[in-house]
Amino acid sequence: MKGETEAKVLIIIPAYNESANIEKVARHLKNCAPQYDYLIINDGSTDDTLRICEREHFRYLDLPINLGIGGAVQAGYVYAHKNDYDIAVQMDGDGQHDIAYLSDMLQPILSGKADVVIGSRFLKKEGFQSSQSRRIGIGILSLLIRLTTGHRVMDVTSGYRAVNRKFIDIYAKDYPTDYPEPEAIVTAFMHRGRVLEVPVKMKAREGGTSSITLRKSVYYMIKVTLAILVCRLSYGFRRVKR
């Protein structure tokens, strides 16, 4: 296995109307993790996100049409696949995810212990824990994934993830569309991926608004529940082994 210095790492940052945060996030990345490549995916933003990326000479992809978070993240995986990266990390463009935990997340992949690493805010219960109603929703989805795949993942909606080369290829071809995080975990298990959670502290978002409003949360739960079941079914009865 390659060491931390040799592995080619790409940090994927999907950004839709994140002009309030993106500059800070990218600057922070450039300063604190200059050894890694990063790539902002401007997902057809209608605000100044693109202009900021241009002005600051960030590394970015500009998608001409808004694809939603799933399509944007997948664009990053396609890029990582084409440019031969060893590890891809996805983190939100709103500053919730702390770059300080990056090496904790890379370690299990570099040592070959895991294929997919999820930064989980519930393992040590530190930092921003989200509202109670959301935690209940996450708990339900977590239970559902446990019932359908037999594996336990606590923070199924965390968008802070690292995956190895095998899953860069898989996600480049097959990544769910909207609200993709829980479904992508099921996809990982169905490809016999070893998924590992690593404790991280998350911050409350610094600016802008979250993409999930109260009005959308009912749709969110129904859609994700169905998506998990369909995803599980579409892979048939293939046994998943560790």
Binding site: P64, I65, K82
Partner: protein, 149 residues
């Protein structure tokens, strides 16, 4: 029994239906692949209108009382099938558009890098050699994106 006046108009309608489909096909406004279901529906409608006895038999099998209700039911069934086919076509096209948009984004980045004359190596602490392999990777992987068929 279907009244003969109604039968006449139904036959005329089915003929019209076929003329329209064939006209659209001839002008290449319809893809033959997606038209097969429409043609099949037309054939079934035509057969049932010309030979109403068959319709009676089918209807009796399902225990439907009225002939016209049976006809409507069959037509609605076909419409549902066609709508489902359309939804599936729309979904597949959605996936293709998604792949295209991602590809455009990646190409856009490459063009920007080429225009800058830096090949992305300036901000990637890399030499010119990596730039070459970078581009090989991109062009080599491109033909893989061919979708479902």
């Amino acid at each position: 029994m279907i009244p003969s006046t109604l039968r006449f108009w139904l036959i005329a309608a089915v003929v019209c239906y076929f003329v329209i489909i064939l006209y659209l096909l001839k002008n290449r406004a319809l893809n033959l692949k997606y038209t097969l279901l429409w043609l099949l529906a037309g054939v079934v409608m035509g057969v049932l209108v010309v030979f109403p006895e068959m319709l009676m038999r089918i209807i009796r099998v399902f225990g439907i009382q009225s002939n016209m209700n049976g006809l409507f039911l069959i037509i609605i069934g076909f419409m549902l099938m066609i709508l489902m086919a359309l939804t599936s076509i729309a979904s597949r096209q959605n996936m293709k558009i998604r792949a295209l948009v991602q590809e455009i984004g990646i190409l856009d980045k490459r063009i920007r890098e080429l225009e800058d004359g830096q090949g992305g190596s300036a901000d990637r602490k890399a030499s010119g050699q990596e730039k070459v392999s970078d581009m090989d990777g991109a062009s080599g992987a491109a033909p893989k994106e061919t979708g479902g068929r």
